[in-house]
């Protein structure tokens, strides 16, 4: 059994104009020490998925259904007290903007000691020693001095290192990193990503990496999910998805990478934009933008418009697409006929 298993997660936001389903039928799992990437456009539900893992979605959002099993324990419906024991301790989080996630009026050391004290009965001096050790691990220059500095005295890259140190503070099993490098400049991005990867490997920590950056996902993660409009549409080993994307949306994402464009011409893009969650198209949410809603003979495939696609296995990957399902079906039947 995997360390973390998410099954049919259903997260909704009760808004004044009605309920909006931010996540539907999201399933994934993570083994100990495994690294999973979650990619998708803004608003696809990546961050909501990360927040709901620790039941941290704030009102009016709530988990309406599904299960999150972590180390054999069901997390949905767990009391706040019991969840607090897992937050920061077994599963910790890294946020996008290191300028915002540190408390501006507390010193770095104060914030780290605070976190340790919330989980362990520990003397101040001992907590400080642990904090110092973690700061050394994230390779901050002069870690001793940083403990007594305030966040505004550190640069963006250093702050993100501090945040990584805080995430590692209690030796968690999983780190959820929500676009950890988006707010940093490019040279620092690579450094921070390399550091995160190295530390996860060294301490056998699982990583859920949420990002727009397909390049980072392909370098860092072993498996990946592609999300669209609150739903997982393709998942499998990162290498296979990157090399041979099955879902038209994933193909579109890959084609949109600048290096895929012919030099001198416009970059490729997926026409249209993601639908808003309170007004999803019927059937496959991607069908209005999809180039494959017709059969190869040119006739319309009605299921794209009317029916929500189920996952089908394609190689080691799972894809939710009528077109892919049809292709697999077509390949399977002749194969069965010849064996007969």
């Amino acid at each position: 059994m995997s360390l973390l298993e998410v099954n049919y997660l259903d997260v909704r936001f009760a808004l004044r104009r009605g309920e909006v389903q931010a996540l539907r039928d999201v399933c994934f799992s993570l083994d100990r020490g495994e690294r999973l990437g979650i990619v998708g456009e803004s608003g696809a539900g990546k961050s909501v998925a990360a927040f709901s893992l620790l039941n941290l979605i704030s009102k009016p959002g709530y988990i309406a259904g599904g299960s999150i099993r972590f180390d054999g324990q069901e997390l949905t419906g767990l009391s706040d007290r019991a969840l607090r024991r897992i937050r920061g301790h077994r599963i910790s989080m890294i946020f996008q903007d290191p300028m915002m996630t540190l408390n501006p009026v507390l010193t770095i050391g104060e914030q780290m000691i605070e976190c340790l004290k919330a989980h362990r009965r520990i003397a101040r001096r001992e907590a400080r020693a642990i904090a110092l050790r973690k700061l050394e691990q994230v390779q901050i220059p002069s870690p001793e001095a940083r403990l007594d500095q305030y966040p505004h005295e550190l640069s963006g890259g250093m702050r993100q290192r501090v945040i990584i140190a805080i995430a590692l503070l209690l030796d968690p099993d999983i780190i959820v990193a929500d676009e950890p490098t988006t707010a940093l400049d490019v040279t620092i991005q690579a450094e921070i990503m390399a550091l995160l990867l190295e530390l996860c490997e060294k301490h056998n920590v699982g990583l859920i990496l949420i990002t727009h950056d397909l390049g980072v996902v392909s370098q860092v993660t072993q498996r990946m999910l592609v999300m669209y409009a609150g739903r997982v549409i393709e998942q499998g080993p990162t290498r296979e998805i990157i090399n041979d994307p099955q879902h038209p949306y994933t193909q579109g994402l890959m084609n949109a990478l600048p290096q895929m464009a012919t030099p001198g011409e416009r970059l490729n893009q997926i026409p249209g934009s993601m639908p808003s969650l309170d007004n999803l198209p019927s059937g496959c949410a991607f069908h209005p933008r999809c180039a494959f809603t017709r059969h190869p003979d040119g006739s319309e495939r009605p299921s794209c418009r009317c029916q929500v696609p189920e996952f089908v296995a394609s190689g080691n990957c799972q894809v939710a697409c009528h077109m892919v399902a049809e292709m697999i079906e077509r390949e399977r039947i002749p194969a069965e006929e010849t064996t007969r």
């Binding site: 903007d97 915002m100 501006p104 009026v105 550190l154």
Partner: protein, 318 residues
Amino acid sequence: MNTTTSSIEGPPTASRWERFRDSYLLYSFKRDLIAQISLLVFVLMVVAAVLAPWLAPMNPYDLAQIDILASELPPFWISGSEDAYVLGTDAQGRDMLSTILYGARVSLIIGFGAVALQAILGVSFGLLAGYLGGRIDAFLMRLADIQLSFSTLMVAIVVGALVKAIFGGATFSAYAVPLLVLIIGLAEWPQYARTVRASVLAEKNKEYVDAARTMGLSSRRIMFRHILPNTLSPIFVISTVQVANAIISEAALSFLGLGMPETHPSLGSLIKSGFDYLQSGSWWITLMPGAVLVLLVLVINLLGDWLRDVLNPRLYKG
């Protein structure tokens, strides 16, 4: 506080004193003459009040020292004064300087005590209302509205009258200081609660609060250790105004005869005790403590103005 301006190139470990020395707070204080004079006067008055038993020429509470024959003596610059009584004496022959020192002491104790009570109540309620929201917020804020709709004087009159009626005037006199602290403290807590709630509402949506939650911190820890320090600047600023207000409230209550008894006078009851003699020419009995009261409230307000300018994040953000 977000008032330190030390740069990244600066020495990496700065002690608290060094941080204070480099702070914007000190920098602006050094450049503000009014703030310096106000602080000086305020500190002098507080020290004089605290040291009243040692500084005052006589103990006005000690009936044995009071000479009724020396009543209504004028201050030293008017003929007919006696050298022993620099600021003259009141109708009972008490030395004005001594009574003012002792009175200022009572006024300051009540002022600071009441503000401490207001702050404890108001900050806790404001934090709870702002952070937890929902029904608790609605309940506490309606409570604040109700509290604000009664004026301090009215609450004081009702409570004072009740205590006097039930326990008798002697008990009231004995417990006048804690009672006044309670009355003024209870009457004004919504000022704090509203200000704190407003800043908590702004702070709680910031990402560091989310981060603190993902660290597994409890709501109480997040409220008091993470959000409260970020709302301290407005708390400081209203505290100065509230101390001045509390001193004035106490003086007003005492003037109306609902505050400190004349045997144990505050500045307010001194003003009142001289009021009857104002027409007969003994103006100093009222005017001397009155001037002290005005000066005290004025310097506190001036300090508050300066603090508001320094801590206002719109004018300065560090």
